[in-house]
């Protein structure tokens, strides 16, 4: 029955992962920008939660929207002022640019917060519940539920609101969108901001599970990559599917190979999938 436990772990992780990846996927799919800052955004969100908890007594679940808003502003500013200037440049340029920006911000975090791993320990702890033979830690379940909620909210936003329709239009065709009266530059900044929002909120939620440190940013970035390749770009269902698949893969490989190989397995899978089916499981061609 250990498989059931591993399965449950994987699914819970999956909900989490979907939230980590969906902002990244959106920016990549709509703006054709691989945001190497994404991991740092998540860590920043976690720091917002950490400091809110220790200085203001704000529960991480409540500081998630706050972290989101702060990161939105940062993301909006970065895209508007800097990244927008290179959206028509070759792939290489935008990648290098976001890499440079990430070096800046990550270093700034290191200087400001030091590399020490912080943790948020909730008082009182949430404990766990047992469903039959499967044990589910409540903090993880709660994070998963909230993460999924956030992701679904984004999905509704994209599908139903005018803003969302504009973003989807941009995803399909920048020039056509411009002809339809969409201010592509401003929408790009908004989209990037939304991606940052999701990252910050996710970081905030994650802060009670993962240790917080600027050194973790590549870990989250790597997961976001793999999820996007697994699930396809620019779609929320894709990020969710990819997230769950990655969660399951990590759980099962932890079981069979040992937890230290989880990252390697996911990266090898990334390469294999790219080699064989770059559009991902739900195959939406994201600007090849």
């Amino acid at each position: 029955m250990i498989y059931l436990q591993v399965l449950a772990n994987g699914v819970v992780l999956g909900g989490l992962y979907a939230c980590i990846a969906v902002g990244f996927s959106l920016v990549w799919g709509v703006l054709n920008v691989i945001n190497l800052l994404h991991g740092s955004f998540i860590v920043l969100g976690a720091y917002v939660a950490f400091f809110s908890y220790h200085l203001l007594g704000l529960h991480p679940f409540l500081s998630a929207p706050l972290a989101g808003m702060l990161l939105f502003v940062l993301g909006f500013g970065l895209q508007g002022a800097i990244i927008n200037r290179v959206v028509h440049a070759p792939v290489l340029m935008t990648l290098t640019l976001t890499f440079g920006l990430d070096l800046l911000i990550n270093n700034a975090m290191l200087v400001a917060f030091k590399a020490d791993y912080r943790k948020i320990v909730l008082e009182p702890p949430l404990g766990s519940i047992a469903l039959g033979e499967v044990i589910l830690p409540l903090d993880r379940v709660a994070v998963m539920v909230l993460a999924l909620l956030l992701t679904l909210l984004l999905y509704q936003l994209l599908r139903l609101s005018r803003l969302g329709r504009a973003i989807v239009a941009m995803r399909m065709d920048h020039d056509a969108a411009r002809l339809m009266g969409i201010n592509v530059m401003r929408m790009s900044a908004v989209t990037f901001g939304i991606g940052a929002f999701m990252a910050g909120a996710a970081g905030s939620l994650l802060s009670i599970i993962y240790p917080i440190s600027p050194l973790n940013s590549t870990l989250f970035l790597g997961k976001a990559f793999v999820i996007c390749v697994l699930g396809g770009l620019g779609s929320v269902p894709g990020a969710m599917a990819g997230g769950v698949v990655l969660g399951l893969i990590e759980s099962f490989s932890a079981l069979w190979l040992g937890p230290e190989y989880a990252v390697t397995v996911s990266f090898v899978l990334l390469i294999v999938i790219l080699a064989v089916r770059p559009t991902g499981l739900l195959g939406k061609r994201g600007f090849e």
Binding site: I34, V86, V91, L104, L274, F287
Partner: protein, 306 residues
Amino acid sequence: MRDWAILAAGVTLFALLPLLGGNYALRLGTIFAMYAVLALSWNIIGGLAGYPSFATAAFFGLGAYASAILAGKSVPMLLAWAAAGIVAATFAVVIGLAILHLKGHYFAIASLVLAEVLRELTNSFADLTGGGMGLNLPVLRWTVGQEAQFFFFAMLVLVALTMIAVLLLRRSTLGFALRCIQQNEDAAVMLGIGARGCKAVAFMLSAVFVGIAGAIYASWVHYIEPGDVFDVLYSVKPLVMVLIGGIGTLFGPVIGAAVFLLLEEAVWRSFLTIHAAVLGGLIVLLVLFLPDGMLGSRKARLVWRG
């Protein structure tokens, strides 16, 4: 003709460095030569062929470990270096056939991830590689001065070889084919260019000298560990150097390597804690304001590779 003359002059002048400077200058010179090898190699796949590769760190680390492992089994140093180049080249061809059909972002990601995977695998196969504890290389019974000079000349020879390869490639049919592929791959294929094979060869060439550089580096520093030689910065720095000097130009990578190294040394000495931030800032400014580099021009600008 002019290019060969420049190469010959450059190498000769550079070879005079030991007469002018002490060990510190030699150390800088060695690093400069190594950077130039990495940048020139990257320019083959990234500039000439137009495929933005982030695989340099993978080749570098692979070469370092291949050579170090062989050296540990008493293989003569120079032989180990050559073998490292072959290992890196073979790896490039095999992986290349799997990922070179990808375009733009996807290729960049796949190549970026290679170093990560190799790093993890190196960590895991600890019996062979020493894992996280790292690997020591045999100590050479030379004086500090002799070692400094030896490795300086080793890197110098390597960069000269790399430059010769680049010059030959540029003038060859393969070089012509790669330029066609970079500007319009679909049209190139329709004209009878076997793009798949050409790209694989370019990728292989971008790996062989990098692998040897990794091997020389390992022998030079006597101790390597996965996080050190598979560092993603070994993939990003050559790119930045080429951007500084001008993508797709012949000597741009070399100029870029020199400028970058000077900046790096200056910054490292003055701003140790924020050197990453300064590097990041430099990159941002470069991309925003000098995308063609110092030697590049509108003409040499990359076509959008989507």
